[in-house]
Amino acid sequence: MQSLNTYRAGPDERGHFGIFGGRFVAETLMPLILEVEKAYKAAKADPSFQQELDYYLSDYVGRPSPLYYARRLTESLGGAKIYLKREDLNHTGAHKINNCVGQILLARRMGKKRIIAETGAGQHGVATATVCALFGLECVIYMGATDIERQAPNVYRMKMLGATVKPVTSGAGTLKDAMNDALRDWVTNVDTTYYLIGTVAGPHPYPAMVRDFQCVIGEETRQQIMKAEGRLPDSLVACIGGGSNAMGLFHPFLDDAAVRIIGVEAAGHGLESGQHAASLTGGRPGVLHGNRTYLLQDQDGQIAEAHSISAGLDYPGIGPEHSWLHDIKRVEYVSVTDTEAVEAFGMVTRLEGIIPALESSHAIAHAAKLAPSLPKDHLMVVNLSGRGDKDLATIAKAQGESL
């Protein structure tokens, strides 16, 4: 591992984490992105912004989310002591709301009246539609047609909340394509519109800003584990699509060298099948959606379609800070297949009475691989990033049943 005084200083003033990140966008968007950056800097320095954010996080989102000792899961695996960070208990059922509350407060400060967002599983779309309802703002959500089909309950939730859901049919009709169309909308409606990106990707300042808003996960975890165990955890495990729940958990621990940190990508049908969403394991650096990062692509630099049973992980890229942490080897990145994730989903549901999102099930699946060989005093925190109600139809289908 390359040794740095701190792993938490990035990005540089141009938004770069090593060679990753940056601002690769059409010129039309550059002034807007610079405006978002300026507004975010000012908000960060304003104590009243933090106060307002804290208020909504506690009274509206329901934070802090519990750090729950999963006794039966731990006993069943017979090794490491497993804690689940219960982001599934947040309002709207996932970590996505943390970032949405932060960005909507920023959009209000900037005087924007119209909010757009992309969504994969629909969790970010629901969280965005929720905060738009809360503040009476117009909301347009871009969602791939394929995802609309497999995440029907979330589509209906967004509509109930007053959002317009625009189906995206280009490409494979998944998250990547939704992000393309959201960018096309933004470039067309520059004066009125704020683009509320849902993950730690996109042009600077989004990767850093979304990370900052998600760091509440890791900061709480740190306090909670100190209270429960009197020491830091030995390992952290989180799933990664774009990587916002993982970055939120990991970042506050990056400088604690003794904490082993593991990100879990979606291996879909298996890395060797070519049908997966493991950008770090199966991709190489490239430029898409405003940043340089690891991407699934062919030899000509054409972007490949990702595959995962989990719509929220079905993206051919990853946040640029993860790419950097991968290259400098501070964080280990592994992958878990669709089948393993579905098994883990069933295991937590039956052992703990918690139905996890398919995304989070990837993290649990890897924890389940590691835990048995670790000592009983090994403290492992797994980010349970969202709840799985939205995935019931997908699970039923995977098990050959229908609802």
């Binding site: 601002r23 010129e27 096309r184 067309t188």
Partner: protein, 281 residues
């Protein structure tokens, strides 16, 4: 350094000649390998005679974020037909065998170039006879990694300015410019809305006050009449989606070129060229 000099390159020569003629130039855009390599090359070779003064050739990309439906579909057709940077450069080489003066500009997104290798790309493009590059997702903040190789290869880096490029942003963007300045006349994607003439006139005047380079205007220009209107104020008039659309309308149910494709596309080029050439008459 290459022997090629940007001040005396094809783009500068062409705009000087247009100035001497007292008219604006027509800049046409089509995507390479759309709908297939041979058809695309055949049309490309016909463009100068039909009245294209400068040629933009699109390099297909899976995720053309600044493009509307017409050019998105063109990219998909081109990729399905095996479109790649190698094929684009091969088309340019073939074009150059018969046409030595009409400037040719490659337009596209950065990732395929990054995958090809920016240094190798600039070298190969210059050798093939490419005169300029328009790379949509390389704003000045990120452009240096390509510019560093384009400059010594003698390839113009054509910058995009937009209705949002105002105030202190404009000199930042113009700092990298050579060849000409491309004014994107609407905030939006290709092939959708058209700007008001008064807004275009004002923007061209603003750009002219800030740069000595020729100014070409694009986005939303579809008809010979619109082209003529813009040609009264700008040095160049760019038409893309309308030509791509004419091409798309000449495909059969399976997306293959029909016999009339070349005439349909070049017919529109002739009409547009006529509009541009008679605009100031």
């Amino acid at each position: 350094m290459s022997a090629r000099n940007l001040q005396t390159g094809r783009i500068a020569r062409r705009f000087n000649a247009l100035k001497a003629e007292g008219r604006a130039g027509l800049v046409t855009f089509l995507t390479a390998c759309d709908p297939d390599y041979d058809t695309s090359l055949d049309v490309l070779k016909g463009l100068p005679a039909a009245g294209a003064d400068l040629i933009e050739l699109g390099m297909p990309f899976t995720d053309p974020m600044a493009d509307g439906p017409a050019i998105q579909l063109a990219s998909q057709r081109a990729l399905a037909a095996g479109g790649s940077i190698e094929r684009c450069l091969s088309a340019v080489r073939s074009f150059r065998e018969q046409e030595s003066e009409t400037p040719l500009i490659l337009m596209g997104y950065y990732n395929p170039i990054y995958a090809y290798g920016p240094e190798r790309f600039c070298k190969d493009a210059a050798e093939a006879g490419v005169d300029g590059l328009i790379i949509v997702d390389l704003p000045p903040e990120e452009a240096e990694e390509l510019l560093a190789h384009a400059r010594p290869a003698g390839i113009d880096f054509i910058v995009l300015t937009t209705p949002t490029t105002v105030g202190e942003r404009l000199p930042v963007v113009l700092g990298n410019a050579s060849g000409f300045v491309y004014y994107v006349s609407i905030a939006g994607i290709t092939g959708t809305a058209s700007a008001q003439m008064s807004a275009i006139e004002e923007a061209v005047a603003r750009l002219k006050a800030a740069t000595a380079l020729p100014v070409a205007v694009g986005f939303g220009i579809r008809t010979p009449e619109q082209a003529a209107d813009v040609a009264r104020h700008a040095d160049g008039v760019v038409v893309g989606s309308a030509l791509v659309q004419a091409l798309a309308e000449s495909l059969d149910g399976e997306g293959r070129a029909t016999e009339g494709l070349k005439d349909n596309v070049l017919g529109l080029v002739r009409a547009l060229a006529n509009g541009v050439r008679t605009a100031r008459g």
